[in-house]
């Protein structure tokens, strides 16, 4: 019977959220607007840096065929056979040109020959030489002294594009996602738990033949779903923003992500861990007070705690960080996307978050009962 009570409370709480439009809007729009705006801001800064057109000129089809494997990884460099590279560069059609002849790769920038590198014996060497030119950042190093400030040549490989995306999702945007999750948790928990006493709706509920713990569990589970949704909206907005503002690079991300979908459940597990911890922190704070004003005041400490936790990996290289929920977010996501998802660390982080959640639940119900006295 008791599980039915939890279910009824959950249904009622969910219906309450659905009926309170301002709450629903806050839940979905906060992560959407903040993440979209910051993503736009980040891309705006990048767009202020003009990217130069670049190309690789091959002498024959054979060279281009062999080098195609390398060129695929550097989508900014278009490949041509024959043509007149020097004219193209001089006339400003192309800013940077790598010209492959029988013996060498010559690097041109604004019609200037900057360097010639790597002796080629035959066409089969082209791929390695080109790869060396890109990966060893020879091309970039050769040119950066010639370029005016705020100009760059995009030497990004597919891996680099992924890295940029990951840095964004685990850095500023990652922290923003946690911040919106925490701010939503603050207002929702204060409304759902502390608010019951303030609105004098608490007594009617407590008078029912359902224990306070079951009522609190029902409320907590719904809060958990809401916070999870808020985090999910944040992540999806981060991806959507990348698709909108960096659409030329997004196809590369999709291609890489589509290769192996094992990352999806691991990221959901990470988000779930963060949700459990956030729910536990804010439920405990909300349960300790009978005035939402006071609860909100103390909840700001919880907001700082959650947001700063996500930044811990930038302060320390300690290996233990990867086992802690929220703090392991950036490490885990990067390891997942590099195809080395550390299931043991993510799983441990999840178990720790379950323990924190259980502890939060016990503490919350004790505090809630205490404020009733």
């Amino acid at each position: 019977m008791s599980n039915k009570h939890v279910l009824h409370v959950m249904k009622n709480e969910w219906a309450k959220t659905m009926k309170t439009k301002s709450q629903l809007l806050l839940l979905l729009l906060t992560p959407l607007i903040t993440v979209m705006f910051i993503s736009w801001g980040l891309d705006y800064v990048i767009s202020q840096t003009s990217t130069y057109e670049a190309a690789v000129f091959f002498q024959n089809e054979e060279q281009m065929r062999v080098a195609d494997v390398v060129l695929k990884d550097y989508p900014s460099f278009a490949g041509f056979v024959g043509g007149d590279p020097k004219t193209d560069v001089t006339e400003g059609k192309i800013d940077c040109a790598l010209v492959v002849d029988d013996q060498m790769i010559h690097v041109y920038y604004d019609s200037e020959l900057l360097s010639s590198s790597t002796c080629l014996k035959d066409a089969s060497d082209v791929a390695d030489a080109l790869c060396f030119a890109f990966e060893g950042t020879e091309v970039y190093n050769d040119m950066k002294d010639f370029m005016p400030t705020r100009q760059m040549i995009d030497l990004s490989s597919k891996e680099d594009i992924l890295e940029t995306f990951l840095d964004r999702m685990t850095g500023l945007i990652g922290m923003l996602i946690f911040l919106t999750m925490a701010s939503n948790a603050l207002s929702l928990s204060a409304n759902s738990v502390t608010g019951e006493k303030e609105r004098h709706t608490f007594d009617t509920m407590v008078l029912c033949p359902a224990s306070l713990r079951k009522i609190l569990l029902g409320k907590t589970l719904v809060l958990m779903v809401e916070i999870f949704l808020s985090g999910l909206v944040g992540i999806l907005t981060g991806i959507l923003a990348f698709a909108i503002w960096s659409h030329d690079q997004f196809s590369t991300i999709c291609e890489l992500a589509g290769k192996n979908l094992a990352w999806l459940p691991l990221i959901i597990l990470l988000l779930l861990s963060a949700t459990l911890v956030t729910t536990a922190v804010f439920m405990t704070i909300a349960s300790a007070f009978s005035q939402t004003k006071k609860a909100s005041l103390f909840s700001s400490a919880g907001m700082v705690l959650i947001s700063v936790s996500s930044m811990i990996p930038t302060f320390t290289k300690n290996e233990a960080v990867k086992f802690f929920p929220v703090a392991n977010w950036s490490i885990a996501i990067k390891s997942i996307c590099r195809g080395k998802g550390d299931l043991a660390a993510i799983g441990t982080g999840f178990l720790i978050s379950v323990l924190i959640f259980a502890l939060g639940l016990v503490l919350s119900s004790a505090l809630w009962e205490r404020t009733n006295e």
Binding site: H8, N12, K16
Partner: protein, 251 residues
């Protein structure tokens, strides 16, 4: 039958001894009025009776069963209504009745039947699909009453239920209280309106400064204090038993 023996409640947080020694007896099929000046401890006593507060010491029994033995089973049998109690404003009376009915583990048929009857009596039916927050004070109080009584409790505790209501709503509630009594239910009523006590109550208990100072028939109250009316009896009981200091000061 409800028996209260030497009930005591101290609020640790505020260091207030709200109820010092209350002993009363309430029988089935009667309206028992609980009287006392503001701050005497009536509401605290009623909150303990309704299981909302745990007594510091003393004993409450429902038909011989200690309230702490099976609190959840006791809650199925009681209803508590104060003029302060509110329901979630986003919901309609219909949704509220369904929700609370399910929490009381009532069958859907039972909910439907009781809901219909109570909504019809209190004139809520035509507002059943409107949000509670849009109601007037009187309509809110009538809805709260209907929801509280939905599970057909055998003990009903009213803490100043007609406060701030117009005369028509007051009469409607009074009539329903009498009907509940006739059905054999046990009704405890706290009020400051002594006229209401004379008209409705069978027995009365008086609390002064957290102590029960009188428990007996309404008709005997005046005579027991050698005065003409229950108003005079109440004032006399207060003057004889009131002690100025009731706050425990921190050492």
């Amino acid at each position: 039958m409800i028996t209260i023996e030497h009930l005591k409640k101290t609020f640790k947080k505020n260091k207030v001894e709200a109820v010092k020694d209350v002993s009363l007896e309430v029988h089935n099929g009667e309206i028992f009025a609980l009287l006392g000046p503001n701050g005497a401890g009536k509401t605290t006593t009623m909150r303990m009776l309704s299981t909302l507060l745990n007594p510091t010491s003393g004993k409450i029994t429902y038909d011989g069963k200690d309230i702490n033995e099976d609190m959840l089973a006791i809650r199925r049998r009681i209803a508590f209504l104060t003029n302060e109690i509110r329901l979630d404003g986003q919901f309609t009376p219909d949704e509220l009745a369904n929700y609370y009915g399910r929490l009381y583990e009532m069958s859907e048929e039972q909910i439907k039947k009781n809901k219909q009857e109570l909504f019809d009596y209190f004139g809520i039916t035509e507002f059943a699909k409107r949000r509670y927050e849009t109601f007037s004070t009187g309509m809110k109080q009538k809805t709260s009453l209907a929801i509280c009584l939905l599970h057909d409790p055998d003990t009903i505790i009213f803490d100043e239920p007609t406060n701030g209501l117009d005369i028509l709503t007051q009469r409607l509630i009074e009539k329903y209280v009498v009907r509940l009594k006739e059905e054999g239910k046990c009704i405890i009523l706290s009020t400051h309106i002594l006229d209401l006590v004379s008209r409705l109550a069978d027995r009365v208990g008086v609390i002064v400064d957290g102590r029960s100072v009188y428990c007996g028939n309404v008709s005997d109250m005046a005579a027991s204090q050698n005065v003409e009316t229950i108003d005079e009896a109440f004032v006399k009981l207060y003057e004889e038993n009131h002690v100025e200091q009731n706050i425990i000061t921190k050492k």
